[in-house]
Amino acid sequence: MSDNTNTPQPSGAVQTTGHAWDSDLQEYNNPLPRWWLWCFYGTVVFSILYWFIYPSWPVGNTWIKGFGTVEYTAVDKATGQEQGKEFRWNTRALLLEELGNAANDQQRKAMLAKVQAADYEQIAKDPKMMEFVRSVGKGLFGDNCAACHGRGGQGVVGMYPNLTDDDWLWGSSSDKIHETLVQGRKGFMPAFGQVLKPEQLDDVAEYVLTLSDEAPSSEDSERGKAIFQGQVGGCYYCHGADAKGIPSQGAANLTDKIWAIANVPAQKTLQDKKAVIKEFVAKGVNNTRVMPAWKDRLSPTDIKLLAVYVHQLGGAQ
């Protein structure tokens, strides 16, 4: 415990708290430094100014809204007109101001308007517009499409189509890609596991492999051809008599060496290649390969930009 000391400090020296431990250990009682005090008073004044400018205290069932204002422009959806407006300071008004005024946004907006007005050919011919499409498209693609189609658009075999190859289910033109994005797509092929007998599945798989020169034609494949082209299988109905696919059905081209679903290239032997095709044809596709519709999520300009972006990824040129 400490003892109280009454030993007065010499005047002019720093005062002590007035008690001593172990007889002589005392504690100074320094006043707060001036500069510190003034900073403190400064923050008090600042907070009062702040209350005047920004929304602050709740009062009754509303709150003090502050005198600060933000000017922003927003599109009136009924008339399509841009309207300038001044409103009390808040983060939402600030966002609209930023979206409309920031220097890079002005540039971006002008460029977006240009892309929106141009047709696909004009965009493709204009290197500046293409550069813009590539840089903005990359971000849009990363945020919205990469989770399925992969960062670079390479897809996942069997699940999500590769957008960088030459094989298109629904058509390769920018218009068709645009349509794909706006309305979404749903891959559908009936399951043939119950319709065809195992031998028939064998034969038709053999035939499918001859279409892309994976297998030489044989007796088996001739029987498969009859199934494919006839009423039993009816495959020609969607894939076409030439098996090149019918884009309006989203049916795959079976004559090229690019496989979207049946992972043929990964198989070494003919037997294994046949097996993956058999397995796929038996199961078909229903509800598993769904491309979402983007018309409600992305703006028309964003969709157009993405259509150009996907088109230039490589496969569609």
Partner: protein
């Protein structure tokens, strides 16, 4: 009062400390219970259906909120990446809300409709099979576990206590029909909770197993409704500014 007097009297100091820190709570929290002006008046926001509630409970149980927020803030970069900023009205039936600020993964407030059900199932079972760089954990048991929905009406009753308009009486049901239409009102009826859960699960088959109702079914149903209730094309941007 001189500060020596406060510093040397610990009981007094305690009382004064409590007084000072309670100002923060009184000013920041209490008004939220009676200032309703900040809740935007928008159409479309409805309570979750029984299946979606079970999905939400699983979301909370699995701790998805530890890595995912559900609140898009009114900033330019978030606007460009995620879409429209979240409204207060959109989480009015969320108890507890899932706002958060921890974003190890992306914000999920506008997730509904972005991906297919099939993608969600695949991604939750094995995230790296679709997003190779992902650090999200696998949740394979969601597909193995059958959904326990026997207590869903009890869960709805609990939410009802907090003010979510699930109906018990005919009058409440009629009010919901008025407000949300018959189809939704049926799903908000506690007395029919299990039936409507089964109906939604069978019709939509979120998990891709028509014969089963798994925990995945409920979780995907919940994920697919996030941020889809308000039709933003109906409102001018300036409209939401006025609620702040």
């Amino acid at each position: 009062m001189r500060h020596e007097q406060i510093e040397t009297n610990s009981a007094l100091m305690l009382v004064l400390i409590l007084l000072v820190i309670s100002v923060g709570g009184l000013v920041e929290i209490v008004p939220l219970f009676y200032i309703n002006e900040t809740i935007e008046k928008v159409d479309g926001v409805r309570p979750y259906t029984p299946l979606e509630i079970r999905g939400r409970d699983i979301y909370v149980r699995e701790g998805c909120y530890l890595c995912h927020s559900q609140q898009i803030r009114p900033f330019r970069d978030e606007w460009l990446r995620y879409g429209h900023y979240s409204l207060a009205a959109e989480s009015q039936y969320d108890h507890p809300f899932q706002w958060g600020s921890k974003r190890t993964g992306p914000d999920l407030a506008r997730l509904g409709g972005k991906y297919s059900n099939h993608w969600h199932v695949q991604h939750l079972v094995a995230p790296r099979s679709v997003v190779p760089q992902s650090i999200m954990p696998n949740y394979p048991w969601l597909l193995d576990n059958d959904l326990d929905y026997t207590d869903v009406d009890g869960r709805m009753r609990a939410l009802r206590v907090t003010g979510v308009p699930y109906s018990v009486t005919q009058a409440e049901y009629d009010a919901n029909v008025q407000k949300y239409g018959q189809a939704i009102a049926d799903q908000l009826d506690i007395t029919k909770a299990q039936d409507s859960l089964l109906k939604q699960a069978r019709e939509k088959d979120f998990d891709g197993f028509p014969g089963r109702i798994t925990e995945m079914e409920a979780l995907v149903a919940y994920l697919q409704v996030l941020g889809t209730m308000v039709d933003f094309t109906q409102y001018n941007e300036g409209y939401f500014v006025e609620f702040r």
